[in-house]
């Protein structure tokens, strides 16, 4: 093991991942079952109130459904059933709303839209913000750089939702350049042809842009600050003494050293970014997990709501894991013992 420190790091990290997922899911279970009553009774009560109709033998009905949903038995029994179903079989139970369709069906339908929107937006934001921020730090004496930095300072602090509102209003309602909602034109069949793909791009442009405009400027500011502190390092002076060109120094000495803290920062920001993405989805009625979450919450579809919550946690933790596994490539000091 000692001879393969990177392997040790990977295994440790995966172990931490599994532990964290288990921990978070357990906490979610505890929380959901600490709410008094159970979802079935609550659902029945709401139905009764809504339709002003008392269901005869409601108890029997409730008990029957509870057994079907796996909500009978002691708390401990439910817990183990829950772990077995959710973690091992990815079975979240049937959706209340469209019984008996399993909840995970809807979630897995919505998942690609969320991941796609978020993934592309984050990738573009980070790369753009990192590169431009690096250049801003490198050329911080130029007045243009100061101007862009000040602009970024303001834009980066506007919550993405508001950016979305502004874009929606200007481009969708005002200029009519982009559609207002949805992920694609409902009139087009889902297929791998240009019609469909271009519709997807059109519909995804504004939501993605809302996220990118805010995040990219944020990455610009933070990268710039890191680059400015790197500029004072000894190895920068040495690089200049070697007669390397400015471009080479910027790429291999400045930016490569700015990468580690920024990749770490990316991993830490994912939870926050997902929050923003969900809100943007609700604004544009984009059919991702954010919209599904709200609709299932409103309909008291307990399984779907819980499922999305768990899926969100799993999503962020998985993305964080992947980034952490990428670390040894970015910074050779990670996972390798040094003699100092």
């Amino acid at each position: 093991m000692k001879n393969y420190p990177v392997l040790t790091y990977v295994l440790k990290r995966i172990g931490l991942y599994i532990f964290t997922i288990w921990g978070a899911f357990t906490i979610a279970f505890v929380f959901f079952h600490s709410v008094p009553g159970d979802p079935i009774s609550a659902y029945v009560a709401t139905m009764e109130a809504q339709y002003s109709y008392k269901i005869p033998d409601a108890d029997v009905v409730i008990a029957e459904y509870k057994k079907m949903m796996g909500l009978d038995g002691t708390l401990l029994q439910q817990y183990f059933r829950y772990l077995e179903n959710v973690l091992l079989k990815f079975n979240l139970g049937p959706s209340f709303l469209s019984f008996p369709t399993p909840a995970e069906k809807y979630i897995f339908e919505a998942l690609p839209w969320t991941v796609g929107l978020l993934g592309i937006a984050t990738l573009i934001s980070w790369t753009l913000g990192f590169t431009i921020g690096g250049i801003m730090g490198w050329r911080r004496d130029s007045p243009i750089a100061a101007g862009i930095t000040n602009l970024a300072l303001i834009f980066s602090q506007i919550p993405a939702y508001f950016m979305g509102l502004a874009l929606l209003f200007i481009f969708a309602y005002g200029l009519l350049w982009f559609p207002r909602r949805g992920a694609f034109d409902p009139g087009i069949a889902k297929a791998f042809n240009w019609d469909f793909i271009s519709s997807v791009i059109q519909h995804g442009a504004l939501p993605a842009l809302s996220l990118v405009l805010v995040s990219a400027f944020g990455w610009l500011i933070s990268t710039r600050a890191i680059v400015v502190s790197i500029l004072g390092e000894d190895y920068l002076v040495y690089a200049k003494a070697k007669g390397l060109t400015g471009g080479a120094i910027l790429r291999h000495y400045v930016l490569r050293n700015a990468m580690l803290p920024q990749v770490t920062g990316l991993a830490l920001s994912l939870g926050f970014v997902l929050n923003g993405a969900y809100l943007i989805e609700t604004l544009f009625q984009y059919p991702g997990m954010g919209t599904l979450f709200l609709s299932s919450l409103a309909m008291l579809d307990y399984n779907t709501t819980q499922g999305i919550m768990l899926m969100s946690i799993a999503l962020v933790l998985t993305a964080t894991l992947l980034l952490d596994l990428l670390m040894p490539l970015v910074d050779p000091r990670v996972a390798r013992e040094g003699k100092g």
Binding site: L153, L268, L297, M309
Partner: protein, 288 residues
């Protein structure tokens, strides 16, 4: 560091504080301003005026669907948004100070465990959880909502407290105090806390931003303290639900949005400014 020194060390801090100061002033003066605008009428009561009035000197932001003066509501909303945010910030700072203190003072394994815990809380997306919790609680009151928001915002301030406690603890006068047989509790209150006060302020600024962000996240989808309590986020939610954008009544949407943006920008500037002052290793954010 003297207050005067702190204030003038950072331009960003100054700008942020000024903007926030104006906003707080407006919120404090809400009863007076309300009287100036619409007399003794409660801004929340419906049917006071005609619905969807145009922007005019009597109604600088027009009226909404229920015939309420939007500007009067805006000032009221600002007031409540700030109150909830501040309450949540206080609660969150309280939690952050306790947790950060324990982590920094005990050190070692306790510290490592708490840092992992804090990172986990930061990583997990808070919005779905907050929304679920908020919707399950019947009768969300302001204090309850503030508590809920605090449950997730504390993580932003914990690190500041922790690192400061760590560095204070390593100071020689703590060892001296320990040698002279002062009890842990006395050390904490007499030596550490006074030096911690400015950092508690920094933590408060950080947690409050997080709290207001979370608060807005809930209100934008319509969750909030019920009844007659209007907040800026709720105003945006209402306006969107009424289809204000399609109706062309943009001021209904963008007035609260702009107000919220001002709050966020000013608070973030304060945070960045505070970091410039208290973390001198970080060069100034603008101007190199």
């Amino acid at each position: 560091m003297e207050l005067r020194h702190i204030l003038f060390r950072s331009r960003l801090l100054l700008v942020g504080l000024s903007i926030l100061g104006v906003l707080i002033l407006i919120a404090l003066l809400q009863p007076v301003l309300n009287r100036l605008l619409i007399g003794d009428i409660n801004p929340v009561s419906m049917g006071t005026y005609k619905a969807y009035e145009e922007v005019s000197p009597q109604h600088p932001l027009g009226t909404d669907r229920w015939g309420r003066d939007w500007l009067a509501l805006l000032i009221l909303g600002l007031r409540y948004s700030l109150i909830i945010g501040a309450l949540a910030g206080v609660a969150a700072t309280f939690i952050a100070v306790i947790l950060g203190f324990v982590a920094g003072y005990k050190g070692g394994r306790t510290d490592a465990a708490m840092r992992t815990f804090t990172d986990m809380v930061l990583v997990i997306p808070s919005w779905p959880i907050l929304v679920t919790m908020a919707s399950y609680i019947k009768g969300l009151s302001i204090p309850l909502m503030a508590l809920l928001l605090a449950l997730f915002s504390w993580a932003f301030g914990m690190r500041t407290i922790r690192s400061q406690v760590l560095s204070l603890r390593a100071q020689p006068y703590v060892d001296l105090a320990k040698v002279s047989n002062l009890k842990d509790r006395e050390i904490i209150f007499q030596e550490l806390i006074p030096n911690l006060l400015p950092y508690i302020g920094v933590a408060f600024a950080a947690t409050t931003v997080g709290a207001i962000l979370a608060e807005t996240g809930l209100e934008l989808i319509g969750l909030g303290p019920g009844g007659n309590i209007i907040t800026l986020g709720l105003m945006v939610n209402f306006a969107l639900r009424w289809g204000a954008l399609a109706l062309g009544k943009v001021e209904l949407v963008f007035a609260p949005v702009l107000m919220l943006i001002l709050i966020f920008v000013s608070m973030n500037l304060i945070n960045i400014g505070l970091e410039e002052v208290f973390n001198p290793r970080l060069k100034r954010v603008t101007g190199g």
